[in-house]
């Protein structure tokens, strides 16, 4: 018996833009429906339309029935009785989703009192119970705290508590874990599963993360340009996709368990809802496009086994058992010349020795006084050889960005050494520093914020050239634009005329303008959609090989890191927990933190994802203003919890430093961990193609 039925839902915004163009689905009790799609595909608008929460001016047609009762077009007060009672919603950004001026407890109690006739005391007590249910420690004290006093993960738990306050029949989760770190994401997903068990509710899970869907969903709906293009049971859809878009999506994601080699990019960009192409909206990007595709948009048709596909060639795809790797052209990336030389014999382009950056913690508005020290970076050492990519990974607040800033400043650090291309930053003169900046360039995370919106792209790219006194920049700009896969005519346009992926290419072109030898990449693909991300990763790989670059790559997405990096350094609270060649660290992680981090990454593979056992970490990372004594990870360490009293003493009193592991042998004997009781284990189930080898 289905709780919610959506039939032919369309949403039109003022100006005639159709954001949703005919969506139908149903959700049964206890079932999880995953809705996948890139930004602008209409997945969030669909769910807001179901809740009746779209801004005034949006026109909704079609039918949404809850337990057989129609919700479209009913009076507002009837809708308010349904919202939060029968259907609850969990939003993406838990910071802005709570009213900042009321306590968490009061906001949850408010949700209780809207729908249940209870006294204030009882509602407050219920709020504490709910907070306890979602795993918030000391719930009675925390209920009196304000939203800004909660960490991101805690806020999302509180959000779930509020959503299940009235025992809803349906939970709509809109990107519930996108803003969170992976270990916190794993915790929150567990809480969601608990919440579902407690309430027996159906769940609509909206996300762009195919890994999260693989582990949670029973059925999946793939959306493209405001319409569902494929729908079916999760296993069927992941293992036997029938629509080229789904196939491309699954093939384009870098996988933490995956093989190396170029990723499969989907060419082009998703169409703007204001200017849809005639026929199938995916046709312009589709490798299997035939003439019929441009004539008429294929309807979503049932193909048996509970599956629906909107593609004229779906039968053929099924018949030939095609996958994304078969139909999408695989780019060829020239191999690098540098890697043939052993690492020891290559030049070192960047070397950090015991880098320290502490910030004073100030208090008071008028009279500032120092009340402590934030240990943002506390003794970090690593080096990068020529032609190598070192990835710096870790959760937010671990000191990745501070490390980057210390390198980019080229000033003497508070303590330790930064040596760039053989030159110690502490001994640089003004002219030398400027010259060295040309060899050390950066690509930023947010491609929109990193480009001046009032400057034509040509000027954006020419700026570093002019700053370093080069003349005749026009030819170089054209060359750079071609290098990153844009055309020279684009130099006249402004940044807002480009899509996110193209903007990031412009950012890369600007960074390459001065022919640097070391490129610092600060989360270069995290703001991009999956299908675009693959193209940028391939571009970076190609540039590295053809131009002989070295990369320092900062990321939180460990799957991207596995794909792009040669070596990886895992940071925790301002120190390096584990460092080594990618295959060593990923296949045989030795530090308990790395193990937890890797096990928290959802795999886009339903069967293996369901069968996996996670190492769940407790709580949030401690504040860098007050790191624990000895080993900084011990407060959350699953291994520490299993140790005996005598062994624990060492973790509490002695801070471990990175030690080369004894059995790090093989091709690259490069693996060290900062743990007194390091022990290599496997946490990512080996993928099929690796087993075959």
């Amino acid at each position: 018996m289905s709780i919610l039925q959506v039939r032919d839902l369309t949403v039109t915004f003022p100006g005639g833009v159709q954001a949703v163009r005919g969506v139908s689905y149903e959700v049964s009790r206890g079932e999880v429906l995953g809705i996948v799609g890139e930004s602008g595909s209409g997945k969030s608008v669909t769910s807001l339309a179901v809740m009746g929460l779209l801004p005034p001016g949006a026109v909704v047609s079609g039918s949404v029935t809850l337990h057989g009762r129609e919700l479209i077009g009913v009076q507002e007060d009837e809708l308010t009785r349904v919202r939060g009672k029968s259907i609850s919603m969990i939003f993406q950004d838990p910071l802005s989703a709570f009213t900042p001026v009321y306590t968490i407890g009061a906001q949850i109690a408010e949700a209780v009192r809207v729908h249940q006739k209870t006294g204030k005391d009882k509602a407050a007590k219920r709020a504490v119970e709910l907070l306890d249910l979602v795993g918030i420690p000391h719930p009675d004290a925390r209920a009196r705290a304000f939203p800004h006093e909660f960490s991101g993960g805690m806020r999302q738990r509180a959000m779930i508590a509020m959503a299940i306050a009235n025992d809803p029949d349906l939970l709509i989760c809109d990107e519930p874990t996108t803003a969170l770190d992976v270990t916190i994401q794993a915790q929150v997903l567990e809480v969601l599963k608990t919440a579902q068990r407690e309430t027996g509710a159906g769940i609509v899970m909206i996300t762009h993360d195919l890994g999260v869907i693989a582990g949670m969903a029973d059925r999946v709906l793939v959306m493209y340009a405001g319409r569902p293009v494929e729908q079916g049971p999760v296993d069927e859809l992941y293992y036997r996709p029938r629509m080229p878009y789904t196939m491309g999506l699954l093939a384009s994601i870098p996988r933490v368990d995956g093989a190396e080699g170029p990723l499969v990019p989907i060419e082009g960009n998703p169409p703007s809802p204001a200017a849809l192409p005639p026929g199938c909206p995916f046709a312009p990007r589709c490798p299997m496009r035939i003439d019929v595709c441009d004539e008429e948009e294929p309807p979503l048709t049932a193909v048996g086994g509970g599956r629906h596909v909107a593609c004229v060639r779906s039968r053929e795809i099924e018949h030939k058992a095609l996958t994304g790797a078969d139909v999408y052209p695989l780019p060829v990336i020239p191999p690098s010349g540098a890697v043939r030389v052993p690492r020891e014999r290559r030049a070192t382009v960047l070397e950090l020795t015991d880098l320290v950056r502490h910030y004073p913690l100030m208090k008071g508005a008028v009279f500032k006084r120092r009340v402590g020290t934030v240990h943002a970076v506390d003794g970090v050492s690593f080096d990068i050889a020529e032609g190598e990519t070192l990835a710096l990974v870790g959760e937010s607040g671990c000191g990745k960005t501070t490390t980057l800033q210390q390198i980019m400043r080229l000033e003497p650090p508070q303590s330790g050494h930064v040596v760039v291309l053989g030159q110690d930053s502490a001994r640089l003169g003004k002219a030398e520093r400027k010259a060295l900046r040309g060899d050390l360039q950066i690509v930023f995370q947010d491609p929109m914020a990193a480009l001046d919106p009032r400057m034509p792209v040509g000027d954006v790219i020419a700026e570093p050239l002019r700053a370093h006194g080069r003349r005749n920049v026009a030819a170089r700009v054209a060359e750079l634009l071609e290098l990153v896969g844009l055309s020279p005519e684009h130099a006249e346009r402004y940044p807002q005329q480009f899509s996110g992926g193209q903007r990031q290419r412009i950012g890369i072109a600007r960074a390459l303008a001065l022919e640097p030898r070391l490129l610092v990449l600060d989360e270069p693909v995290s703001a991009l959609d999956v299908s675009i991300q693959a193209g940028i990763i391939n571009l970076l790989e190609e540039l590295k090989n053809t131009l002989g670059l070295s990369y320092l790559f900062v990321a939180h997405d460990l799957a991207v890191v596995r794909h792009l990096a040669d070596r990886v350094a895992v940071m925790y609270l301002g120190r390096i927990a584990e460092i080594g060649a990618v295959e060593n660290v990923y296949d045989r992680p030795a530090h308990p933190y790395t193990q937890a981090l890797l096990s928290a990454i959802p795999l886009p593979d339903p069967e293996r994802e369901r069968a996996r056992r996670r190492i769940l970490l407790q709580g949030d990372p401690p504040s860098p203003a007050d790191p624990p004594s000895g080993c900084r990870f011990r407060t959350r360490c699953p291994k520490f919890a299993r140790l005996g009293e005598a062994e624990r003493r060492r973790c509490v009193n002695e801070e471990p430093s990175v030690v080369r592991l004894a059995n790090a042998t093989g091709e690259r004997p490069d693996h060290g961990a900062a743990c007194h009781y390091a022990e290599e284990i496997e946490v990512i189930p080996a993928s099929d193609d690796q087993e075959e080898k």
Partner: protein, 325 residues
């Protein structure tokens, strides 16, 4: 907290002392209280003038520094000196502060409350007719100088009273001294109606513009959507979650506006013949009344600093994020 308040109080006292001293110096060097006595018929002998001015500490023949020391010593013990004709500045100031407070208190509060309400309303109804009407009206009122607006109100009331044949609404003065008891009270309220309207119209126009912007910032935020998603009716979500949060920045404006208005409602006081602090500032400058000018300046400085403190208290009361850190 106590330590912080003490330190802040000390800072403020120093700032007030500096401001008042500068004002005194300026007034004492540029103003000429002697003029008031020199032009008299029959002429007053110079020695008499000197003696009179000496007793009031206004004699320009005494060195400035000496006059300043005498004035400052007096102020330190709470004595603001004498007016040009020998009255007590303290008494005059006490009376006038009372007048200004009575005049402004209701007007500012009404202006703030109605302004915020109208601003919130026009934000919720953005680009609808009601928003446009409120917007045009606000800008019209803001474009009319206070003295024109007040005079127009007074003239309109005068003609209305004439047409009615009796005085429905008083348009000048603070009270009728011939009445006593309850009648006196009612008469005072009647006198308050017109200046309050004149003051609050401007305030309403001003706050409605500010509050509209603050409210628009908040309306599109996720927490308003969350409030509706948990089943609150739209109106409750807008008032309890959106408006409550959007009030925080307006509170600062309110505190400062109130503080500066205590000496700034000059036109309103003059036109409706209320002898408050704002009117006194102009009168004392006209009369070359050095000590009164210094006293008004000191009071103005104290008001601004008190307003800053009030705004901090208001923001702390409204915003938990400030309170905790």
């Amino acid at each position: 907290m106590g330590k912080y308040l003490l330190r802040r109080l000390a800072m403020n006292v120093i700032l007030i002392a500096v401001a008042a001293s500068l004002a005194y110096m300026l007034a004492a060097t540029t103003m000429n209280p002697r003029a008031a006595y020199q032009g008299r018929r029959p002429p007053v002998p110079e020695t008499v003038i000197d003696a009179t001015l000496d007793t009031y500490n206004l004699n320009d023949k005494t060195p400035l520094l000496q006059r300043y020391t005498t004035w400052a010593a007096g102020v330190a013990t709470g004595d603001f000196g004498r007016t040009w004709n020998g009255g007590s500045v303290n008494d005059e100031m006490g009376r006038r502060i009372g007048v200004s407070l009575r005049l402004l208190f209701v007007g500012t509060l009404v202006g703030f409350a109605l302004g915020v309400a109208l601003g919130a309303l026009s934000a919720v109804k953005q680009y609808r007719p009601s928003d446009r009407v409120i917007g045009v009206a606000s800008f019209t009122i803001m474009a009319i100088p206070v003295f024109v607006l007040a005079t127009l109100l007074a003239v309109a009331t005068y003609s209305m009273n004439r047409a009615l044949g009796f005085t429905l609404i008083e348009y000048t003065g603070e009270y009728n001294p011939r009445l006593t008891g309850w009648d006196q009270w009612l008469n005072r309220l009647n006198h308050l109606v017109l200046p309050t309207i004149s003051l609050s119209l401007g305030a309403i126009a001003f706050y409605s513009r500010i509050q509209r912007n603050m409210m628009l910032d908040v309306l599109n935020q996720d927490f308003v959507r969350t409030a509706m998603a948990k089943g609150l009716p739209r109106r409750t979500a807008l008032v309890k979650h959106a408006l409550r949060t959007a009030l925080i920045p307006s509170a600062t404006y309110f505190a400062f506006a109130f503080g500066t208005l205590l000496t700034g409602a000059t036109f309103t006081e003059k036109i409706f013949a209320w002898h408050g602090m704002g009117a006194w500032l102009i009168d004392s400058i006209n009369q070359n009344d050095v000590n009164a000018v210094a006293a008004v300046s000191l009071f103005a400085a104290a008001c601004v600093l008190a307003a800053a403190f009030l705004s901090d208290l208001l923001v702390a009361a409204l915003d938990p994020r400030v309170r905790v850190s």
